[in-house]
């Protein structure tokens, strides 16, 4: 073996921790897909918007990164809901390719707006947590990543509880399972869509606050994370909540192990290879998609 056990242990730890964040990114996307069959190609750019909000609060406002949740979550909810209401809702009945092109256009706008406003340089926020680490056997755990993992898990549990136990959550699930029946049962489907899109985007607000302490912010940061969340969502089955969580961990581990074995950014090719193979051979995902 030309790589050490220590390195693999480290990859395992990093993979799981990052995988948790990937899971949170993807839960939002899969929720939106499950409810209204839209692939939001601006998903990663929404995250980027959230990360800039958090970065400026932390770096310029001196906020604690985790307190920024109070701002990032509502901001992303409003941004998501407003963009949905103004652009996506009017063409919900159009062919799915039109929606894809529209969200691609949105991602171009947001990405380049960030470029115009903040330049291309990656911004790194130094926080009190950024450098804290502890060792776990042979591996080193970075505390902000651990917090991100825990926070993502908590957010996913909260969202799951919301979908299962509240009236609004039941309405969202009803609309995703059978639109017509939901309408007949008195569910206001358009409002439910708006809510689902807002919540799907708000997940990215949570992710943004959790990521800024250990990840740089740049106009193109959403490109990679957006693609990762597509990979995870397809892997877990489009619209499958639990599948997105498991898929997030799988891709997190794939990336971490790939980076341990392969030089440079070549490990990312692995992620795409898995993606393409799953799309070809199990387009319903490893765990099946949501019921229509």
């Amino acid at each position: 073996m030309f790589f050490s056990l220590d390195l693999l242990a480290q990859a395992l730890v990093t993979g799981i921790l990052i995988g948790g964040v990937f899971a949170l990114l993807s839960v939002g996307l899969t929720l939106i897909w499950g409810v209204m069959r839209i692939i939001n190609f601006a998903h990663g750019e929404f995250l980027m918007v959230g990360m800039y909000v958090v970065y400026f609060l932390v770096a310029k406002g001196g906020w604690d990164p985790y307190v920024t949740l109070l701002v990032s979550v509502p901001v992303l909810f409003v941004v998501g809901a407003a963009i949905f209401r103004l652009t996506i809702q009017p063409i919900l009945a159009h062919p799915s390719m039109n929606q894809i092109m529209l969200t691609l256009g949105l991602s171009l706008i947001l990405q380049n707006l960030a470029l115009v406003l903040f330049r291309a340089d990656p911004l790194i926020a130094q926080t009190a947590y950024s450098r804290i680490t502890f060792s776990l056997g042979p591996a080193i755990v970075r505390v902000p990543q651990l917090i991100a993992f825990g926070g993502s898990g908590l957010a996913a549990v909260l969202l799951y509880w919301f979908l299962q136990k509240t009236d609004a959550g039941r309405a969202i699930r009803a609309a995703s399972q059978n639109r017509e029946a939901a309408v007949l049962m008195g569910v206001d489907v358009q409002r439910t869509y708006l809510l689902a899109f807002g919540i799907g985007s708000a997940c990215l607000g949570v992710a943004a606050s959790l990521m800024v302490p250990f990840y740089y912010t740049s106009p193109t940061v959403g490109l990679w994370f957006g693609l990762v969340s597509f990979v995870v969502v397809v892997l877990g089955g489009m619209g499958n909540f639990i599948g997105a969580l498991v898929g997030g961990l799988i891709i997190g581990l794939t990336e971490a192990f790939g980076a341990a074995i392969l030089p440079g950014s070549l490990s990312r090719v692995f992620t795409f290879a898995i993606f393409i193979l799953v799309l070809l051979f199990r387009p319903q995902g490893l765990f099946g998609g949501s019921r229509r």
Binding site: I39, T87, P90, I91, H94, S96, M97, N98, Q99, I100, M101, L102, L104, G105, L106, S107, L108, I109, L110, Q111, N112, L113, L115, V116, A120, P219, L223, L227, F230, V231, V234, P263, G264, S265, L266, R268, V269, F272, A273, F275, I276, L279, L280, F281, P283
Partner: protein, 332 residues
């Protein structure tokens, strides 16, 4: 075509061929960009517009065309005039493979879009890590001076003539295919695949054909891209960015129409280039914001593009004319 159309096209051709005699370098550069993007969008339109399979990864083919010819050029001094066919052949092969695998397993709509965008990004990371082709830094085309045999020219006129011929050929090829068996089969696949299958169309074959042709044409555009801009890098030719730019003009001009890509590029590229020239220093990316905005507006208000809008306006006008003419007769 009636004789007025033919006369118009003949005059247009003469004007286009004499243009470099009067146009300045900047205007010529603008027209080269218009023609390049029109040509690339025309190539994309064969698969995306006619056969209805929306690829979000045409950067793969653009990049292959650019990289193959440039590598052959700087490594062994092989002229890009040959390199473009080598790149085209490799790209066609890759296109065949992608088409075969995707369509064999019945990928369509959003799923095909996702696979192609993933491929485009995968190629970015693949090429970034191969040092023989410049890694993340990319490749620079060696400047040998004014060498038409090496597709290198002083000034813009030489490049202008090449891309003009390519764009004209692109339009001729699509127009020709439009009226042929292949074109009808692609449109049948796009409109209703099951029905096409039931009528005996080999839909798999039709879709692969469209992919291969589209890949070949895009790659030849890639060689031109490399020679014109003299620098290529993984992000500048393979990734999501160039992939979206290729399809943009076809969508905005009018999906699945012969003239849509040209109209789209003709309307948008000059505005975007002016925005880039005026704001580029302080606001890099302003022109891409403009593209994004137009794309959103087109999807919201005129999903059939500029050509589609023009057609529906004309239809309304003829209907109005038809309605009003009887009353006009009565009045007389």
């Amino acid at each position: 075509m009636n004789k007025y159309t033919i006369a118009f096209l003949a005059i247009l051709l003469v004007v286009l061929f004499l243009l470099p005699l009067v146009a300045g370098e900047y205007l010529l550069h603008m027209i080269v960009l218009v023609l390049l993007y029109a040509y690339l969008a025309t190539a994309w339109n064969i698969l995306g517009g006619y056969a209805g399979q929306h690829s979000l990864g045409h950067g793969v083919f653009l990049g292959i065309g650019a990289y193959v010819s440039t590598f052959l050029f700087i490594q062994w001094g092989i002229t890009p005039w040959l390199g473009m066919w080598a790149g085209g052949a490799v790209s066609a092969l890759v296109g065949w493979f992608i088409g075969y695998v995707c369509f064999r397993y019945g990928l369509k709509g959003p799923y095909f879009a996702l696979v192609t965008i993933a491929l485009a990004e995968a190629f970015v990371y693949l090429t970034s890590n191969v040092d023989a082709i410049g890694g993340a830094k990319g490749l620079e085309v060696t400047w040998l001076g004014h060498r038409p045999d090496m597709m290198e020219f002083d000034g813009k006129a030489g490049y202008y003539y090449i891309i003009l011929v390519m764009a004209i050929l692109g339009v001729i090829v699509t127009r020709w295919l439009y009226r042929r068996r292949s074109g009808y089969q692609w449109i049948a696949v796009r409109e209703n695949e099951d029905a096409a299958e039931a009528l005996g169309v080999d839909t798999l074959r039709a879709k692969i054909e469209a992919t291969v042709l589209s890949a070949l044409m895009t790659a030849i555009g890639g060689t031109f891209y490399a020679q014109y801009f003299t620098y290529i890098g993984p992000r500048s030719v393979f990734g999501e960015g160039p992939s979206v730019q290729i399809l943009l003009f076809a969508i905005i001009g009018g999906l699945g129409t012969v003239w849509g890509p040209l109209v789209g590029a003709l309307v948008l590229v000059p505005i975007a280039e002016l925005a880039r020239a005026k704001l580029g220093g302080s606001f890099g990316g302003a022109h891409l914001m403009l593209y994004g905005t137009v794309m959103v507006l087109v999807m919201l208000f005129m999903p059939k593009g500029i050509i589609g809008l023009a057609q529906s306006v004309r239809a309304r006008l003829t209907r109005r004319a038809a309605n009003s003419s009887p009353s006009a007769k009565e009045a007389a």
